[in-house]
């Protein structure tokens, strides 16, 4: 007897992946370069850069989707791992400013005005690009390994884990805000000039970063998909459905949780690393409780338990924010909160769930098994 055939959902997800890939990798950059600036088709440098940021966020969302959507473990501290990645890359970029800084010192500006005379030791590895690059991945991964080991080993679950991760986000925010941390305090790291010799203010550099982000997102997606499609991916869903059964089938659930938590942290670090040079600033405000919660909303809106949903949610909510804050800047938090409530109560499977329902209604209403995700009903 053959193993279960790939379900329709999977093939549809593959199509969505190619469509999105084509859109972001080919169409958007072409619309940026080819049409004249007056044309309605033209995508401005600003817009393209903005999408680069959204797609970096999508990588962060993928990680949360793995741990929350598939494994059922809600982490409300993904912003911390994002921040660690972002700060590592930010430290490299800050050291690249060199003599161009406001005070003409080799040290980053904030060190000059906080009277730091010498570069702190922990900044040294970030003098090189590879220090920043490897650090942005390794620091979140190591931190998640230690934190996850302590939490999951002690069988901390469900709402308790969510609360602990939220406390972690708050603690990280406090630490990064302090001047003594030597990471720029409340102002964070900013005023970056160049990356590997490329000027960050140059549109072509930003275009390159955009393309790099699209490729990184594609790779992250395929990696997550490989995990989800493997037997270990099924164990993740099994843990969500019935953790005790998993234990009594000879698996050790906490190790799977730790694994997927560490993967999510690595993806968050990658996301932060791509975010910094495109946005040009990283401050503690981007890594605290609120930004961590927003990731949860993106995934809920897009549809947890589907990888494409995480990407769609991250892009859609952030695009929505960029449009709506133009018109109602004050109302955005309320819109976001309202959106979350509506999605959770009315569309528990998010955008992807809605699309599937519409599709199922059009076709014959035969029940399809889902390889992933929640019940179709």
């Amino acid at each position: 007897m053959p193993e279960p055939v790939v379900s329709h959902q999977d093939s549809r997800e593959t199509v969505s992946f190619y469509v999105l890939g084509f859109l972001f990798l080919v169409v958007l950059p072409l619309l940026n370069v080819v049409p004249s600036e007056e044309s309605w088709l033209h995508v401005s440098d600003f817009r393209l850069n903005q999408f680069g940021k959204f797609l970096a966020f999508a990588i962060l969302a993928l990680g949360l989707d793995l741990i929350w959507g598939y494994c059922g473990v809600l982490s409300m501290g993904q912003g911390v791992f994002f921040g660690l990645g972002a700060y590592c890359m930010g430290m490299y970029l800050a050291l690249q400013i060199g003599k161009e800084s406001v005070y003409g010192s080799e040290l980053p500006d904030f060190m000059v005005w906080t009277q730091v005379k010498e570069l702190p030791l922990f900044w040294y590895p970030f003098k090189s690009f590879w220090g920043g690059f490897v650090g942005a991945l390794l620091v979140p991964v190591l931190f998640a390994t230690i934190f996850g080991f302590l939490a999951f080993r002690s069988r901390i679950k469900g709402v308790y884990f969510a609360i602990i991760t939220q406390a972690l986000a708050y603690a990280a925010w406090l630490v990064f805000n302090r001047n003594e941390t030597r990471l720029g305090g409340t102002n964070g790291l900013t005023d970056f000039k160049q990356l590997l010799g490329f000027r960050l203010s140059d549109p072509s550099t930003q275009r390159g970063l955009y393309l790099l982000t699209v490729l990184a997102l594609g790779a992250a997606y395929l990696f997550c998909r490989w995990i989800v499609a493997s037997r270990a991916g099924k164990v993740l869903i099994a843990i969500r459905d019935s953790e005790s059964r998993v234990t009594f089938s000879g698996y050790t659930p906490w190790m799977y949780k730790l694994f997927v938590f560490v993967v999510a942290a690595g993806l968050a670090g990658l996301s932060g690393m791509l975010y910094v040079p495109q946005v040009g600033i990283i401050t503690p405000a981007q890594i605290g409780v609120l930004p961590s919660l927003e990731v949860v909303i993106w995934v809920a809106v897009g549809g947890r338990g589907t990888l494409i949903g995480a990407i769609l949610g991250a892009v859609a909510v952030n695009y929505g924010r960029s449009v709506l804050t133009n018109y109602f800047p004050e109302a955005w938090p309320f819109i976001l909160g309202g959106l979350f409530v509506v999605v959770v109560t009315l569309f528990p499977d998010g955008l992807v769930g809605m699309l599937r329902k519409m599709h199922a209604r059009k076709k014959t209403p035969t029940p399809v098994i889902k390889a992933e995700g929640r019940t179709a009903a």
């Binding site: 007897m1 053959p2 193993e3 279960p4 055939v5 995990i227 493997s230 037997r231 270990a232 099924k234 164990v235 869903i237 099994a238 969500r240 459905d241 019935s242 005790s244 059964r245 998993v246 234990t247 009594f248 089938s249 000879g250 698996y251 050790t252 190790m255 799977y256 694994f259 338990g305 029940p367 098994i369 889902k370 390889a371 992933e372 995700g373 929640r374 019940t375």
Partner: protein
């Protein structure tokens, strides 16, 4: 001390929940390839007994010897599972969002169930063969690719039994398998368990006396945390002490 034919030998097991003794100096043993039914009024400690054997609950005192004298007390649930104790829970506990096949595939006994082995693992033809056989045994072949959550209550119970069989346990613990089943399903479950008992020892907890009569050879009666009587269904039903315990309560199981 241990009789060579015993697969399970619990001695002086006591479980104390803040002063309430769910099991009180309980002695209980099972032979190889035996189908044993445990009955008893609510709160007698039946489920607690299974919990102690499979490592879900730690007893305050006592020993649980399994197979060739391995003491299960103090071992964790995953390791006890690997030794060959399978547990079927009272409420169906299956993976609703996976297909029936995937539910079974995850349960197959494998050398390693660590993260990386599982990440790289693919099912071998022999494993697939085995899964197909079990599907046949539990009567779910035609539902192999359906979402497990869409099965009926009885089918979910069978699926979980199938999942436990695939771990190739030498001792199978089954907690109230026919609660909520139709008469026909109950009878099929009885046949299934009888067939399975040819290959492994099975301990079944049950309330339904018709079902107990269908499958039981030896019945153990548990009350207030201790074994009060053991014997054939007829012997047990004729026992005065047992009658007293059951008749002394509002609802009679007979």
């Amino acid at each position: 001390m241990t009789d060579g034919n015993l697969i399970l030998h619990c001695e002086h097991v006591t479980v104390d929940y803040d002063g309430f003794k769910a099991l009180n100096n309980c002695n209980f043993s099972v032979h190889y390839n035996e189908l044993r039914v445990v009955i008893g009024p609510n709160g007698a400690g039946k489920t607690t007994l299974l919990d102690v054997i499979c490592g879900k609950t730690k007893p305050a005192s006592g020993t649980v010897l399994f197979g060739h004298g391995i003491n299960l007390v103090g071992m964790n649930a995953e390791d006890i599972t690997k030794l060959g104790v399978g547990r079927k829970f009272q409420a169906p506990s299956i993976y609703s969002n996976l297909s029936v096949w995937q539910n079974l595939d995850l349960s197959v006994k494998r050398a390693s169930k660590g993260v990386f082995a599982t990440l790289m693992g693919r099912s071998s033809p022999a494993e697939r063969e085995r899964i197909s056989e079990v599907l046949e045994t539990i009567g779910l072949t035609q539902y192999a690719h359906d979402r497990a959550g869409s099965l009926s209550h009885g089918q979910k119970q069978w699926l979980e039994i199938g999942m436990v069989i695939l771990q190739e346990p030498s001792l199978l613990l089954v907690d109230e398998p026919v609660a909520g089943m139709s008469d026909k399903e109950t009878e099929q479950t009885g046949q299934l368990l009888t067939r399975l008992s040819e290959k492994q020892a099975i301990v079944v907890i049950e309330h339904d006396m018709d079902f107990v009569r269908q499958i039981a050879r030896i019945v153990t009666v548990l009350a207030e945390g201790t074994v009060i009587c053991e014997g054939t269904v007829e012997q047990v039903q004729a026992d005065d002490h047992v009658r007293e315990i059951y008749l002394g309560r509002a609802k009679v199981a007979y």
